[in-house]
């Protein structure tokens, strides 16, 4: 059987919701062994989040949890108990990486700061993902997806240009992107630490801030501001020139066209059947088209309203400039191209049954994305991990359960 790219790495995850679990999922899906540690009886908060299978709230049937925790072994452990903490440290002794996204004050309360863990395992890479990082004035502030997305600056730039700023607040994007931005940053950083350790033998405390992960996506815009100190408002007309591409209405929904390069204009004109208005002086070259972007857009919209989105995008692509239909979720997941690529993966789960999940974020030809196991039931691998690996007897396991350690 093909091994995953990271099959020699051992990870322990002490995560909840998105950022920590997504970072660990990325490693697990690439073949690393990941042991997810959850609180006995309670489990990851994600188990109580939508969407649920058939809208039935059940801790083993949250699609949100099931997706974020594929390929992981699951154990329960009470870190507030002395024995629980001892067992956790035993797990860490054998691990390469610890991924966690708990508030810094909580890790301190549990006595699990990097300085202590380093003593147990100097090679340990500890990746901590928190809303604001391990230091600084906001360190202990609370944040949800909404807060992180807006404090990282993407919220303010998401509605783009608006007609009435007072009535149209800045928006988060659909989904919970901040957690995913933090999770992928954590995974890249963790792998950098793995490479550092290959050369030096030393572990590291990797400090990832969700606020910074989100702000990083503002990189280009922020640098433009830093170069020019030019700040534009959100109101229409406050920017010197507007592109005329973007989301356009069609007969059956919306299309996105991006004729952003100079040479795309000819393709666009041809697409529309060479209408008279395109021959106007105002639209003769790149600079004049930039100045009159709003007018071009108005003409363009008039025309796209009579078109079908999929056909229009296809025609644009054939004429050499980018176009894509704005797919609704059902259209996106039933698109010929996505299906041909096998993007959705069917995974069987002991309680939730067979469901199709998002699959690989990228295709690696020699070490392809694979599902070895579905997301764990709460405490599903207690016996495998505690008995077979750590050497506890079955009787001891029963005692640990009775005393609430696991």
């Amino acid at each position: 059987m093909e091994k995953g790219a990271l099959s020699n790495l051992k990870v322990v995850e002490l995560g909840h919701l998105i950022a920590g679990p997504y970072c660990a999922k990325l490693l697990a899906d690439l073949g690393a062994e990941v042991i997810k540690v959850e609180e006995p009886g309670v489990g990851d908060e994600a188990r109580r989040r939508e969407p649920f299978l058939h809208d039935e709230a059940h801790p083993e049937k949250s699609g949100f949890f099931l997706n974020l925790n594929t390929n992981k072994l699951g154990v329960t452990l009470n870190l507030k108990s002395k024995t629980g903490k001892e067992i956790f440290l035993k797990l860490l002794k054998e691990a390469d990486i610890l991924v966690e996204n708990n508030p810094p004050s909580v890790m301190e309360k549990w006595g699990l700061q990097y300085e202590s863990l380093k003593e147990i395992n100097p090679r340990l890479i500890m990746t901590s993902i928190t809303p604001f990082g391990q230091s600084g004035p906001y360190r202990d502030y609370k944040a949800t997806e909404l807060i992180s997305f807006h404090m990282g600056g993407i919220g303010f730039s998401t509605p783009g240009v608006v007609d009435n700023a007072a009535e149209e607040p800045p928006l988060r994007a659909g989904g919970q992107l901040a957690g995913f931005m933090a999770g992928i940053a954590g995974a890249v950083a963790t792998m950098c630490a793995v490479f550092y350790r290959k050369a030096t033998g030393l572990g590291e405390h990797v400090d990832v801030s969700t606020q910074e992960a989100v702000s990083s996506f503002m990189r280009s815009v922020a640098t433009e501001y830093l170069y020019t100190k030019q700040l534009y408002g959100r109101a229409r007309g406050s920017r010197p020139y507007m592109g005329f591409g973007g989301i356009l209405p069609c007969k059956d929904g919306y299309v996105n066209l991006s004729p952003s390069q100079d040479h795309h204009w000819d393709g666009l004109v041809q697409l529309m059947g060479n209408p008279e208005w395109t021959k106007d002086e105002r639209f003769k070259d790149r600079d004049s088209r930039r100045q009159h972007g709003e007018e071009i857009r108005a003409h363009l919209e008039e025309w796209t309203k009579g078109q079908n989105k999929v056909e229009l995008a296809e025609a644009a692509q054939r004429l050499g400039f980018p176009g894509a239909p704005i797919y609704t979720m059902d259209e996106a997941l039933n698109a010929e191209h996505l299906l041909a690529r096998g993007f959705l993966a069917e995974i069987d789960h002991p309680e939730a049954g067979k469901i199709r999940y998002p699959g690989a974020p990228f295709k690696m030809l020699e070490t392809p994305w694979r599902v070895i196991r579905s997301a764990p039931l709460l405490g599903q691998h207690n016996e495998e991990v505690y008995c077979r690996r750590l050497g506890y007897s079955k009787e001891k396991l029963v005692k640990l359960r009775e005393s609430g350690v696991i």
Binding site: A5, L6, D55, G63, F64, P137, K142, T144, H150, G152, G153, I154, G155, F156, S157, T158, P159, A166, A173, G174, G175, Q176, F180, A185, A187, V188, M191, F195, K198, S209, E212, S215, S216, F217, T223, Y227, I247, N256, S258, S260, Q317, F321, P322, A324, P325, I326, Y327, M329, L333, A335, H337, L338, F343, L344, I355, Y357, P358, F362, K363, L365
Partner: protein, 404 residues
């Protein structure tokens, strides 16, 4: 100065615009030697920004280019000339990774298909990023971040209910692709270290976006539900949204998820009468009546600045924070204290402030930050030092416009 994590790794980098360069920049800033293969004949789109540093346009003066290409080197080659391709191949022979984000078929036309790359170096790692990916019936589609938002369904779930779909700000699709791309490359390098085996990585921007909206995907695959747009609203939390603050176009984000936070919120704002209304007595009723609730929360926030609201509510243990514009972002006191803003010294535009990467670890704390390259800045280094060409040979290749 301590060692950077990725020292010793060399990347022959054909990427341009945003998605590809962001992936290779995550690696260059971590110490990999990233050599961009550029061309004066067809410079990177984002080098040709309308305005550049200090209001002067120029291929080396673009903020966007300089922000996405830190710590990389640049050489120029005309790949439409056989000798240009030959030199690229010489560089590939001594590289660990080849990266590109052209349209499907372009690398093949240059004679640089994955099969060709393997002949040059059997354990080469080839990373290829595009909107649709290289495999599949629509692999000829091209596009930017916005096409990935469109095809993945992300645009359809972003915006206001009853309003049109809108794009996620900050060209999300490009940078989420670049982030995942960096991970793929590092995983492939790790696998190569263990086994000696290289491989081809096919990165679809559409799929990179799709994996980050799994809630909408699974609601469809499990329940057949097609999710729509819901602005700043949540499945169960209320108050949850952006509320107007003092000043022009100033907003604060507030998200209250349980009874404890609600009570803390009410105390923090002085327990006005409306907080005692039956309509808001429990979580479900607050969510069901959130339109009314939002107006009332807004009637309080409007008298404070968005930063003041954050401080008042955070002190009470309630999640809240300003929706910052770019000026506020680069002046945020927390980000500043964490040294998220760093300085680079660019050969043409000089000392400029830049964003750091979103992670810190001990061994990185004393490192130097290197700026992005001018076009062809490292021709002598690449062709002379790395490929061993003499000064005369290089001069001749410049004259023949192979190095251009």
């Amino acid at each position: 100065m301590t060692r950077l994590p990725l020292e010793g790794i060399r990347i022959c980098d054909f990427t341009w615009v945003w998605a590809g360069p962001y992936a290779t920049m995550l690696l260059s800033m971590m110490g990999a030697e990233v050599i961009k293969i550029e061309s004066s004949r067809r410079p990177d789109q984002i080098r040709t920004a309308a305005t550049g540093a200090d209001g002067v346009a120029g291929l080396n003066r673009s903020a966007s280019f300089n922000s996405l290409n830190c710590a990389k080197k640049s050489c120029t080659l005309d790949l439409t000339k056989p000798k240009g391709v030959e030199l690229a191949k010489e560089l590939i022979k001594i590289s660990d990774v080849v990266t590109e984000n052209f349209s499907t078929g372009v690398m093949e036309r240059f004679g640089l298909s994955y099969e060709e790359l393997k002949k040059l170096k059997p354990d080469i790692i080839a990373y290829s990023s595009s909107i649709p990916g290289r495999i599949g019936p629509k692999n000829y589609y091209t596009g930017y971040a916005v096409e990935s938002h469109s095809l993945s369904g992300a645009a359809s779930i972003t915006g206001r209910p009853g309003g049109p779909p809108i794009h996620i700000g900050a060209a999300y699709g490009d940078l989420i692709t670049g982030s995942h791309g960096a991970l793929a490359i590092l995983a492939a390098l790790h696998h190569r270290d263990q086994t000696g085996e290289g491989q081809f990585i096919d990165m679809s921007m559409t799929e990179a976006v799709a994996v980050t909206i799994p809630e909408a995907i699974m609601d469809y695959t499990m329940n057949g539900r097609v999710r729509g747009r819901r602005a700043n609203k949540d499945d169960f939390m209320a108050p949850h949204g952006c509320y107007p603050c003092r000043g022009e176009d100033k907003w604060v984000a507030i998200a209250i998820s349980n009874e404890q936070e609600w009570r803390a919120f009410c105390r923090a704002i002085g327990k006005p009468e409306w907080t005692k209304d039956e309509m808001f007595a429990d979580g479900y009723r607050r969510w069901a009546n959130q339109e009314e609730l939002d107006k009332l929360v807004g009637s309080w926030t409007k008298d404070y600045t968005h930063y003041e609201v954050m401080e008042i509510l955070q002190r009470a243990g309630v999640p809240a924070g300003p929706s910052v514009n770019v000026e506020e972002l680069v002046n945020d006191r927390h980000l500043k204290q964490r040294h998220f803003f760093i300085e680079t010294d660019h050969s043409e535009v000089g000392k400029r402030t830049m964003l750091d990467l979103p992670w810190k670890f001990g061994s990185l704390s004393d490192r130097e930050y290197r700026a992005g390259p001018c076009l062809g800045e490292h021709n002598d280094y690449v062709f002379g030092e790395l490929l061993g060409l003499s000064k005369e040979e290089i001069a001749r290749l410049v004259e023949e416009e192979v190095i251009k």
